[in-house]
Symmetry: C2
Subunit: 306 residues, 2 copies
Amino acid sequence: MATLGYSPSALARALATRQTHLVGVLVGDASDPYFAGILRGVEDTAREFGYLVLLCNTDRNAEVERRYLQLLRDYTVDGILFAGGCLSDPEHVKELRALVSRMREQGTALVALGRYPFPIPTVNIDNEAAVRAVMAHLIELGHRRIAFIAGRPGVTTSDDRLVGYRTALEAAGLPYDPNLVLPGDYTYAGGQRAAGLMLNCHPRPSAVLAVNDASAIGCLAALKEAGIAVPAEVSVAGINDIPVARYVEPPLTTVSVPLQDLGVTGMRVLLRVLAGESVPAEHRLPHRLIIRRSTVVFHSQPGRNV
Amino acid sequence: MATLGYSPSALARALATRQTHLVGVLVGDASDPYFAGILRGVEDTAREFGYLVLLCNTDRNAEVERRYLQLLRDYTVDGILFAGGCLSDPEHVKELRALVSRMREQGTALVALGRYPFPIPTVNIDNEAAVRAVMAHLIELGHRRIAFIAGRPGVTTSDDRLVGYRTALEAAGLPYDPNLVLPGDYTYAGGQRAAGLMLNCHPRPSAVLAVNDASAIGCLAALKEAGIAVPAEVSVAGINDIPVARYVEPPLTTVSVPLQDLGVTGMRVLLRVLAGESVPAEHRLPHRLIIRRSTVVFHSQPGRNV
DNA sequence: TTCCGCATGGAAAGCGCTTTCAACAGAAAC
DNA sequence: GTTTCTGTTGAAAGCGCTTTCCATGCGGAA
């Protein structure tokens, strides 16, 4: 019968056993190297344990997220991994809470990568500390006016990192200037635009930290385009250490975030709650400051900065 | 009952209707910007039409590919999209053929992105022509010794592009020197290693074309690391135009491949065969040469080359 | 009033598996 | 030879939906 090419229907089995061996992964955008890295980790361990992953790009859109959640519920997936920074919009959170609690009652395993407004197991890095680490580095180099390229407000990862930025400033006794936090959207192009905004700041910041590497890289390119030397005139740093970060010019100072490991651990935790084990409410993975050549000591440049 | 939070079982429905509304996507590596772009296109249109996508990373490993295929068959997915360059290993192709033909008989829709050794509908760009376009550009700039960073032999995309390289050489009356085709693996790190190999070539090539942008970017960084100016001393070009290509220094000359559109079209074709329509055996999408600053006219540099 | 047609509703069968339960056979103990 | 226990096998029920089919009812035409 094996020679005849029989293949058992996973569907029928799932219906009978109430186990689908499917897990849904909600990401902001799978083509973002950040999520792509996480996704690899998730998929690798899912495969290792015989699970199939359903890819759900939410584009950080509340409506899309809810629809996907409902769909995943219809398919009675065994578990769901929230890999995006969650949207903190109260209305959305409320609706989500209803859906999520229903799914949990139904036995679906839920795990979040990053802070989440529901009491579900979480695996995360310490975003605030990560930002403080780069900020400390920048400040130690003598920078006093440091811009911050933000992500979208209302996304937890972005918010946490912004808090880290403010805390670091405060800890160093530096003033917080709202004009120095530039809007971004996690993309290369967003970083590029933010750089344009930064050039309008007077006095011009001597350093800029971006909420993620993509923004930093876009910023890097825009600064050079504008004839500003990096790092000689402006230091640039990012966060995440996506693969390409070390290959741009100058190689990007950043904070290494174990993307793949985040995915692996997230999936492992999911598997454990599926097995009925009790898991700690929060897993914290280490980050590490990576100093490359995009940041150097501050030299005041008469006639340039004012 | 809607207020009660009833959700129909997609599984039971699938079992009864023999339609799962699931599609499997086989990619080499979802964290590679090339596949990530394609995947976005696939996922977007899948969602638009009410399909869920099962992500399968094969790592271009025949064994993994077969296992995934079998798994997708067990789940009786409605269709499968082969998004990786296929492995041309004869043994593997043979086994694949058996599996694939069984699935087709079973009614599964099959579509390939890129050349495929089975007669299934295909959507693709003209890889050979794409390579010839960059090569023509390089040759027009006066380059005569052009290295090629390859992908893995036995992967159709890589093979096709290598053929394009040879054809272009031939068309220009330039000799083909096997020493100038450097092994790579599509990654930044692979490009970096290839650059090291290139430095051992005598006379040193004045230009290098990489099978994909990631390789080109890794090569770029390694050359600069070695103190070689790009493009002044060596011109570098890639293929695919991944998002970061324009943000590296110097911005990368490359061939724009409509990654997202490849995914969208692939999924659309899949949907059409699912609907029972007859589709053309091959869809060809346009590519476009993008000249940026990583390639310039050849200047012989006495004492450097030779 | 009778008959036909069409619409509506409810019951039953079936999708392909797991699981439970009963029946049965064989082996061991008395 | 009978009883009990273990183990194996086969049948049946159930997972939650779709689909088919038949019965019922109604309106319009004869």
